[in-house]
Point group: C2
Chain length 219, copies 2
């Protein structure tokens, strides 16, 4: 009857192992949430469990990847600093390579986002059917865009230009993320087509990683 202290060894019994896994997983995630809340610290937990269908990521895929990429950047910087002359070129190569895949990742992210947005616009999917974690990013981008848009409206207002309709602003914004203005429900005639064109254009962005332009080095 008395619960005994569990030994820290692999639990052979399958069912009790799974039960323990479930209980403790939720325990850890709760603790992680608490630490994050109490101390406002970015924390990420990944559990690549064979018991769940997909690996558990907390608080979200994006957060986890963000932390990893930040860490990576730091690591590379540290290494770069420690370098001595003879090793510089090799480290730089690694650094540049890292930089380029980081850029590539960012571009992917944008493409994914645009796809979701396009789906929402075309009615293929609905915002309510979008994953919560994606929505967060989505929202973030929208807000960034709107801020940009408002800034531009301000500028045009000051110039007192007569041809500065909201739609024109949207298509001429310097910000590279293009999407509809959700708050204007009336002036959306032909808007769908414009968005489509914008997305099409954005897809022509070059995706090749730049030639790293490194020559063979003398040792």
């Amino acid at each position: 009857m008395t619960r005994q202290k569990v030994k820290m060894v692999y639990i052979e019994n399958e069912s009790s192992r799974k039960s323990t896994y479930k209980k403790r997983k939720s325990g850890i995630l709760k603790k992680a949430y608490e630490l994050a809340t109490l101390c406002d610290v970015p924390i990420a937990v990944m559990i690549d469990s064979p018991y769940d269908l997909s690996p558990e990521m907390w608080p979200s895929r994006e957060a986890v990847e963000h932390v990893v990429s930040e860490w990576n950047k730091l690591s590379v910087m540290e290494k770069t600093k420690k370098m001595v002359n003879q090793e510089t070129f090799l480290q730089q190569r690694i650094f540049k390579s890292n930089e380029s895949w980081k850029k590539m990742w960012k571009e992917n992210k944008e493409l994914e986002m645009k796809e979701v947005m396009f789906d929402c616009l075309s009615g293929k999917t609905s915002v309510t059917r979008t994953k919560k974690s994606d929505l967060r990013d989505f929202n973030c981008v929208i807000e960034q865009y709107l801020k940009d848009l408002n800034r531009r409206v301000e500028i045009l207002k000051n110039h007192d230009s007569s041809s500065s309709s909201a739609a024109d602003v949207a298509t001429t914004t310097t910000h590279d993320i293009n999407m509809p203005r959700f708050e204007t429900g009336s002036s959306s005639a032909g808007f769908y087509d414009r968005i489509r064109d914008q997305i099409e254009n954005s897809l022509n962005v070059k995706h090749n990683v730049k030639d790293l332009d490194l020559n063979k080095k003398q040792w």
Copy 2:
């Protein structure tokens, strides 16, 4: 006197926040260790704390990155499967881009490894001064290389070639990871030079990411 139930809100008081952080961080890491031990589940925890000098990674940088990359792979696969015709090209673009940075990452890993090995050989650093986590990778590569080498020795033995010394085998192996055979202590005359050449050659490997060869698509 009586300890009260803490509210789940940010702790304003700096010192108690830090104290709580330290206690709870160690608590989480312990829990993570226990879950990993009891259930043999790959789990990774990252805490990008402003209180510690560097972000906390558990159990190790490699493990964390491995879990992330595995997850990424899975995610892409799932998405690819779910795709409908109209979206295929975009998804494929993401997929290919993902693939190429994965490849790039692998290449970086190899370059880093070679650098460590070269430093060890040249006496600039010692194996004992290498991080434990790096050593694990290091060892893995060495074993792979030796296995490859032995395979090749077998082949040459069967052909009864008279000029097949161990060194020749080493320089002609088809495996792209080149390093000395650590178990032969005697025949290492001029070996350092050979390794140097090999490393130099290996550095000429093309590192540009292939053109993804995607054309603008009709919607």
